[in-house]
Every structure is written in C-alpha cells, then in structure tokens.
Symmetry: C2
Subunit: 704 residues, 2 copies
Amino acid sequence: MPHPLDSFFAPASIALIGASRDHEKIPGRLLSMLRRNEYPGKIYPVNPNYTGIDGLPCHKSIADIGAPIDLAVIIIPARAVLPALEQCAAAGVKNAVIISSGFAEEGGDSTAMQEAIADLARRTGMRISGPNAEGFLSQVQRVAATFSPAVDVKPGQAPLVATARRIGIVAQSGGIGFAYYNRAKALGVAVSYVVSTGNESDLGAGEFLDYLVQDASTDVILLFIEGIRDVEKFLVAAQRAAEIKKPVIVTKVGRSGAGERAAASHTASMAGWSAAYDAVFAKYGFIVSNDLDEALTIAAVLAGNPLPKGDRVAVVTVSGGAGIWGTDAVALRGLQVPELSRSIQAEIRTLMPSYGTARNPIDVTAQGVTSGGLQRSVDLLTASNEVDAILVMLSLSSEVRMPFKEEELKPVLAAQKKPVVFYSYTLPSDFARRELAKSGVVVLSGLAHVGVALRQLVDFATFDLPKPAEELRRPAHDLSAFLQSPVLSEADSKALLRAAGIALPEEVLVAEKSGLDDAIARVGFPLVMKIQSPDIPHKSEVGGVRVNVTTKGEVFLAFEQLLNNARRHRPDAAVQGVLLAPMTKKGVEIIVGTMTDKTFGPMVMVGLGGITTELFRDVVYRPAPVSAAEAGAMLAALKAAPLLNGFRGAAKADVAALAQLIADISVLAARHAGEIAEIELNPVLVHPEGQGVTIVDALVVGRR
Amino acid sequence: MPHPLDSFFAPASIALIGASRDHEKIPGRLLSMLRRNEYPGKIYPVNPNYTGIDGLPCHKSIADIGAPIDLAVIIIPARAVLPALEQCAAAGVKNAVIISSGFAEEGGDSTAMQEAIADLARRTGMRISGPNAEGFLSQVQRVAATFSPAVDVKPGQAPLVATARRIGIVAQSGGIGFAYYNRAKALGVAVSYVVSTGNESDLGAGEFLDYLVQDASTDVILLFIEGIRDVEKFLVAAQRAAEIKKPVIVTKVGRSGAGERAAASHTASMAGWSAAYDAVFAKYGFIVSNDLDEALTIAAVLAGNPLPKGDRVAVVTVSGGAGIWGTDAVALRGLQVPELSRSIQAEIRTLMPSYGTARNPIDVTAQGVTSGGLQRSVDLLTASNEVDAILVMLSLSSEVRMPFKEEELKPVLAAQKKPVVFYSYTLPSDFARRELAKSGVVVLSGLAHVGVALRQLVDFATFDLPKPAEELRRPAHDLSAFLQSPVLSEADSKALLRAAGIALPEEVLVAEKSGLDDAIARVGFPLVMKIQSPDIPHKSEVGGVRVNVTTKGEVFLAFEQLLNNARRHRPDAAVQGVLLAPMTKKGVEIIVGTMTDKTFGPMVMVGLGGITTELFRDVVYRPAPVSAAEAGAMLAALKAAPLLNGFRGAAKADVAALAQLIADISVLAARHAGEIAEIELNPVLVHPEGQGVTIVDALVVGRR
C-alpha cells in the first residue's frame, strides 16, 4: 500500500543543496555517502560556486535543475535555509531534510526561523525533516541521505548479515540513531531504515514511527526518544504496532532530574514526565530499555527468532561456571530453568563425558564439544516439548575453529519453532560471527542483556492490547457547578464524585450545631468527624479529625473542638463545617488517583496506600481511560499485589470492585480532562471479595 | 616480602606430566602456550611414550628429571593422577596444578580420589591446585600454565595496554576466568594473574585471593565465585584487602534457585546462601557485580583512574542525545550532575558554536570537536573544583581520525586528580583504542556499566572497614540450661535473652489461675495475654492472644479461654501457661534476627517489620558480630530507612538504641554459635529518640 512518505524514503531524485567538493567536511560527505552506498536515483548537486562536483554537473539553484525532485537535502548556513525551502516549494520538491543546525536548539531568533519552516510545510504541503537532523539511511532503497560516518562502506569487505528480518531505527538524536546502526551492523542484524529526526519542525518521531510500523521491510523497531512532539501521530502508530504485533523497543532519556533539565534545554522539546511515557509504553506493549547494548540485544533476538510459547529455558554450555551464571541470568528475571525429564537427560548424557551434567543447565564440557555433543544437545532440545527457548553459552573467540558443524546446524535452526540464543563469554571472533551468520545466528556477548531479552520476548509473546475502556455505566452529568474553586474540599470532592456516578458512603456535611442530630441519625454510630475547608488539605495536622465517636455528647463536643482547632491553626481558612462519616470496616489500604501529563494528558494511577507508596515507589500508571480489565492488569503489576490476593492467610480482597473503581475514575478524568486536573482517592479501603471498596477520603483539583 | 605461593606463581622450573606432541589436544597445547608466552624457566616434558617433544628431551617419569621442580602441571587420566602426585612428592616437587577432570565433580569413587589428593597435600606439604582446573597465567612472570586459548599470543601483533595498574583474576570457573582475561586484553586493561581454581582439593579461592591481595603487581582484583571452600583463608584475605584498600570486584553465581541447584551439582561446592555472601562482601567493601562486562568496566575504571573525592560528575559530549543519556546513567545511580557555575560555563561556551550547551551535560557539538573544544573542556573541568569526575561521551569508531590531540591529552590526564572516563556510543575502533591507550585511557562501550562503575568508585572511595564489634556490655552467662528443647517458647526465649543481658519488659508466665493476681500486680493494666508452648509458634492462629486487657475479670476469663483454645486447636501441644505482658507504647515496627549460614556461620539481620519485609525484601544482613556503628550502617542501608528518621513529620526514632540491640544480639549469636541456630525478635518497637526499644515477641531456636 502506498504511503505519503514513500517518496521521502525512496526518492527517485535527490537535490543536494550546499554540495561541496571537500569530502572532509559535512556538506562534502553527503554526496560521497550517497554514491558509496550506490544510490540508484538521480543526484543534483546545488551550489552557485561550482559548475561540477565529482563528475556531476552542479546547479546554481533548485530552479536551474529543471527536473522533478523527490527529496532536497539541505546543508547551508541557517539563515539561508528558509529562502532555499521557498525555492524548493516553488520548484515542486516533494520532501526536504535540513541538516543545518542553529534553530530552536539555539533559542531566540533562531526559534522563529524554525517556526517559519513549520509554517512553510503546512502552507505548501512539502514534507520537511529537521532542521538539526543527521538525515536518514534507507538500507533497502540504498539511500544514504546522511553525513554519519556509520553509513560509510568499506570497499572489499562483505557486510555481516545474520538475520533475514530487519530492524528499523527512529531516533531523536542522530548520534545515537547511527550508533544503533553501527552496532547492529557489527552484530549482523539487518537494518531497514535509520532516521534521525532532528528538531522536527514538520515530520516528527511519531510520523516516522508510523511509517516503519506499516513498512513491510521492517520487522522490529528501535525508538530513541527525548520527548514526543507529534503526540497524536505517535499514539496512532503505537496502536497500530500493537494491533499487528510488530515489536517496538523504546529508550526514553531525560529520566533523572538532571537528565530532564538537559533534555528540556537540548532541543526545547516537551520532555514530559517519564512515568507518563512508561505508562503509554506499557499500554501498547512497547519494550522499554535504557541501555544501548541491551536494546540492541533485544532487537537482535527478536529479529533472529520466533516468539517463545512459554517461559521455560534450557541452558546449554561447555563451562560449568558459565552455565550457572546463565541460569541465574534468566531465572533471576523470573523465567524457569526446569530440571529436564529423566528420559531426555539420559539421551543427552550419552553425548558427554561422565563429568558433564544433563539436568539443566546442561554442561556438555569442552570434551563433549569435540564429539559434537553441544550441537546434538541443541537438536534434542529444539525438538523437545520440555523447554520453550534455548540459551547456548560458549567461547567463540577462535578465528579458526567452530564448535558447530555449519551444515548440520543450519537445518535445525531453520526448522526451529523456538528461540535459540547464542552467547559467547569470550569476545566472539569475526570468523565465528560470519560462520554462525550462515545459519541466521547473531552471537551475543552481554549475558545480563540476554537474560533481559529472553524475559522481554516471553512478555511480548503474551502481550495483548487492552480493549478500549467501557464508557461509564451511568451517563455523566455536567460537573462544572462543582468546579468553582481550583482545590475542592473533601466534601465538595465527594459531591462531585457522587454526581459523576461513583459510589460513596452516606456522609453529611454539618455547618451549624443544629444540624448534628439529623446527621447522626443518617450516619449512625460509630462515626468519624472531619473539618472541611478547601484551604485545609491536611486535616490531621490542624487537629481536624476525630475517629470512633460513639455518643451524641462526644459528637457535640468534638464539633466545637474541631472548629476551634481550625480557627486557631488556620485563622484565614474558609471553613465549610464538619463532615460526619461512618467508621469504615477494615480493608487493604489503596491509593487511586488521576493527574494530567503535559504530553499525554490524563493518567490514572494506583498504588498501595500508607507508607509503601512513597517509600518503595510501588505505583502503576496508565493513560486514562482504562477498562476494568486493564485496571486489573495495573493491580497485578504492583509489587504489593500479593497483599490483595490473600496475603498470609488473609481473605482475598475485592479486586474486581477496585478495578471497576479505577476504570470509572479514569473515564471520569478522561471525559473531563478540560476541567479536572487531579483526583486523589486516598485511602480507598478494599474489603474482602464480594464486599466492595470504600472511598474514605477524596480530593479533586480543577484545571482553573 | 616472600610468600609461600611465590614458587607456584613464579616457578623456576616446570614439569609437564602428560606432555604431548599433538598441539590440537589439551596436553599438547600446554607446552606450546608456555613457550609462546616466553616462559623464562626450565620446562621438563614427562611422558613415557616419547623421548623428545618439540626439541625438548622428554622424561619417562618425574624421578628421571633429576633436577629441582617448582611446579608440576598434570594432565593425565584421572586414575593416574594420584600415583603421579606421589612421585612428585617423592621427587621434592613444591607445587602441582592438576588439569585432569573426573574427580569430585563426577561424584562416587571419583570423590574419594580427590580426597586422597587433599590428604597427600596435607601429608607432604606439596601445594596442589585443582583437579579439574584450567591452570593459571602469571602475566608478570610469563608463566602460561594453562591450555586456555585466551592466553595464545598472536605473532606480530602488539598487545593493547592502556593501564599502568594491573588487575588480578581468581575464578572458580576456568571458562569465565579466562573470558575475563580475554575481554580485559581487548580493552587494554593490564593483567597480573589469572587463576582457575578447579575443584580446590588443596589450594582454594580464598588462599589465591590472599596471594593477590599481598601481591605488589596486582592493583585491582576480580573474583568469580560459585562457593567458597577455604572460608577462614578467604576471610583473612578479605580483611587484609579492606585494610589496605585494594578493590575486590566479586561475582557470586548460583543466586537463583535453579542456579543454586546447578552450582551445588557442578563442583560439589558449598554453594551456601547468596544473602550471606552479600553480607560478607558488604562488610569488607567488596564491589558486587553480576555481569561480566559490568565487572570488567568497574575494574577498568579502577585500574585507570584515581578515586573520586565526591559524587559530582561532569558529562562532556558531542551529541546532545548522548549527553542526556549519560546524565541519566549517572544521575539514576544517585550521583550528581550539577549545573556548572556561570564563570566556568562562560569559559566553556567560548569553545563551541552557539547551538552547543555548557550547563552540564556539556555538548560541544560535532563542530566544537574540530576546533579542539572537547579537549579544552575536559582540561577546564579537570582543573575545576566543581566536579569530582568527568564522563566523556563520543563516537570513536573512526579508523583514521581522533577527536583529541594525543600530545595535549596525555599531560592533562597524567596530572589528573579525578577520574576521566571515556565512553564511545559507536563501537570503538582498534585505532582509537590504541591512540587513547597512549594516554592511559581505556575506551568503554557499555553506558549503563559506566554509570554503575562511577557509582561504585564513589562508594568504594568512602568505604571504611567497620571496627570490630565491642563485646557485650555485661559478661555472658552459661545459657545451656535454656537450650533444652530445639525450639523455645516465647517465654523461654525471653528468659534466655534476659540471662544474656538483653533488656526486656517485665512479663510473668502464669501456669495456674492462682498465679494471676500476683502477675497482674507486677505487670499492671492494660496488658496482653499470650499462650505459651514451644509447639505453638503462631499463637494468633489458635486464638492464643488477647490484647488491651484492662480488668481483673477479663484476665481470669481470658486465661481460661486461651487454654481452652490451645487444647482445642493443638491437643498434643505441651502448654506452659499464659504470658502476661504490659501493652507496649507505639513505635516503628522492626524485625531483628540471627541465623546460621552453612558457609559463614552466624549472620545478623534487620528489616522493617510487618508486610514490607516479605513483600519488598527490604532486609539487610551482616556476619555476626557487628558493632553498634556497623548496625547503624545496616539500618541506613534499608530502603525503609526514612521511616526511622522522622518520616512525614513523625518523631525521629531511637536509632541508637536499635543499633545497640542489633549489636548485642549479634554478639550473643556469635558467642553461642555452637548452641543457638536462630534468634528472631519480631516485632521490636522502636520508640522516639531517647525512649529506647521494646522487644515484643521473641523466638530462639537451638542447634540441637
């Protein structure tokens, strides 16, 4: 199916605006990179100072070319870029990549120049990548529209290609994008595209991601993000990737305070809040990795293997110590390394000397390799239904010797229905890489990364895109009347929630002593009394709470005391009265909330209440709204999840009711995203199964 | 200072027992490895089948040599090993390395053969390494007594050596030990020794560690452990390393359940319990790493740099994205990446184009490199007192171009007083490695590992060996009378603790109703009543506890009920009576305990009480005994430490009293290690500062 960016990635003709004869400098490198990578289309150098460059005629201007141009690559001083773009548009150029720097990343007037570029794109329909981009490589189409040294081709050296499937790379940093490419090449992982997105005046990471998602030559996507600008396009692409189950491995930087400061200053991007990014990634099943080699290892394993059908791993090695280490590496990630059945152990034991071991890990010993034991063990395990993946650990540093017979290995792996991952504890030699590449094997050399990759494969294999959130079971009301002040008191917050259809206990706000009798009659003993004021968010700190009040006399006394305490501690607070609420029966203390992220909008969160949320950061976020099923998945992702599932002989908590509450609150936050900035239900008590939940305290913050 | 193992590591003569002419096989490789590495001493091949091998006369037996032998390297079938060793001993051979396999790792009779080897070593004084070892390399003395292909020397290729300081490697796996060496060579990290310890019939990892600790040519130690056998020697070596502050980087495998099973089966070693290992490592300031590349990165950074004086890092780069990533990599490890002062920013800004940034991370941009900006920024930061370490991030993949001027960089780094670490996001070229090696720079290529390494350097720089534990403030009593049953009831446990001088609240065990009045008078109201039986460890589960009892009538009623409940639920339990104890004032709930590890003996632990210990595994162990100061460090290492230090406006807890209790309990456990297997104080309530701690419940388990 044709895509609007096809002419960008597979241009029939390229104009090089700012072409140069100096191959040492960036403008000169662009032309030589295009030609060394054997670009099959037409190249038109443009530079008024030359009549020809490297045997090609050089044009004074775009207008002079007089032929259709699919792509203009622009590398001229910043202030000359806009006029050049105007000429491109006039000449009907379809796409442009601006390599030049000195725009929004510099601030001031330079930002205005970038805005003018964006305007031009909108006005003319010409699609523009950059400025401040390192360009792109289309490996499939042989378009190296970049000055990155990583795309240089060494004459006489055959590229190492182990995988038939290809990875595509979208990076908001040219240095990192092409570093991925540089390392992928060294591993023998085939690449479809590398795109450096630069300042994204027009084309952004989201739209490029979308291209790779629909692209048939891209099987796995690597994404490097500082901050997403084209959020809607990004979300559409993410949804599509999840639907067709094309894996996306994502690195998001700017996670630390200092890193966030740097990301914000770097390309003036919307760095946003990493927890919101992670929530979005989790929703779409993106594989998050924060290390370059780890991300590539995951990509390599995905490109070279089918997905596993379960989480049982066999570890096959020639070194006992390595086998134990490999077992740890996968088992500590929660995968199983099951002891093999007696029958398969007996078969494997015939392939090794007496001091080998066949239990799993399987140590065929150095001597066992010589007699072909390593390979035959792998053959056996590939066919067995006792394991779902195989980790082969050996030393592949030799430049002359291989522990496998190439012609025997290839058919086994070609017929494989499960991942077989090769790790070398010594540094793999070029010879070993090339030999194993013939069987489609990428040799990996970071063990912890291999453990992570296998875990990620298992998780990705079982990932299902959550169904869209159901609408609120009752229709929403107009809530604007409840949102007159920016911060609502507990009573007002609860009134809003009730109006939105959220179930809450019967509670009565009493402003005058005369209302107490009626309130007691409605609420019943024992009860709780809480001072109410939008100006007093922390009621306990001003002596504003009484629990377990059991007599009328106590109620009247407490009413006076609570009001007096408030007056003494917060003389300026607008006090609404005292809220009378029933004492709640016991339950697991949970916090449920929503907040608004500047990039992705409303988010819903859940965490264990009390001290654990803060101390152990045990909270889970998702973009709002979520369905009850997705809320259930959020709960399962909490480290404290066992507490809800009958911890230490306690009753199982009503997880279904809690999940429904999270879903309802998330729909409320999403529906009223323009009015409500935050909701915090803290605590929510989750009672035993079938007995529901109780919202004990609530706080709503409006956007005004 | 001479060391008993000097003749092992620097032998003047080597007998090769089982020497062979076949260079393809392991026995043949040993001779060629020794000669290729230019072993300067005498070599005596021993094999009755040959008269000469590769130009050397071959001897029929050890006795035939007729010259002093410092080291015999033995590679003959397992059953021939013991007779050969007897001949060695008779001939006065000082040391032996047994490469042959088929001993304890095989089990059965083969284990007995290994025990006979150990006996022989004890009997004759000959020191024996192995069997089932891969031998050793002494780089300094040019002794390659191993068949590992990793020590092979390529003619005509100069080794890459970047560091003047050397790392020594002790590994309980030959494959892994020489893999460290293989990778260290590729990085340019100089190596002193590599020792593969095999089955450790005589010489163990602990004794080899001790050798490297005292060895002047070893500056950093890498240790790979499956399970320590010579525990006492290991602890002596560890203590010495900590005293002279020689860094030890340790990997302990067999951490997962499956890995532990494999470790136990592999070399029949005492795999032990990883938490105890980690406790020992923490005590001696060992740097724990569970990844090969990470461990080597830490070693490389330690070998090539001074220790930092603080935790402030400058990140210098030519790629904005890389700079943000690097900032994350160190900041997420808790290091600071401070914004630089205006004055130094102004200086740095003169070294880069307008779109660079000098705040930190410092992005001099690709263009800034050309004009020398990268190097001059590093110079400035090296001299500045605003940062303690510098992380330089760039692309070093070029085979012809360097971003630094070698002759200018070298003096800066030579005069450096702080770590300057170089990371390349593309794969570093051999050219770049060799160029930077001239300045003593190791180029690293795993960013997450670099972040960990810098963190570990900062921690190691501030590590102090804890002072030995003070003795119990009161002298210990004979506790044997309290340890008549294997599991003690709460009352008996507390009686033992009181006898050992541990302070506990006044509590009274009442066996007959007639004793209640007196008990009430002593304990006072409100009080708690708990059933007492060594057969009822979980009192609540049998309805065996009453809290907040406030009247005499309640006490008498509860007494009957508790006894009845116990009879009904546990008719066979030996019931001692009911314990009356005062209600405890509030405090932070802590668990303190001791247990016995099969490798390292008594351990003391502390964790937050309640659900957090189990859910979040937030517990800290140390070998017992500990001083109060070390106990304080244990408390500070808890994730939940903030809870003790005035969390959310609560009073600061009496950490000093808690630390003293931990120290006292640890001394008790260590002193009575032969009698007491476990102590569990759960909960201990820690009251506000100055108000001490209360042991609410206690359990002691004897070793019988």
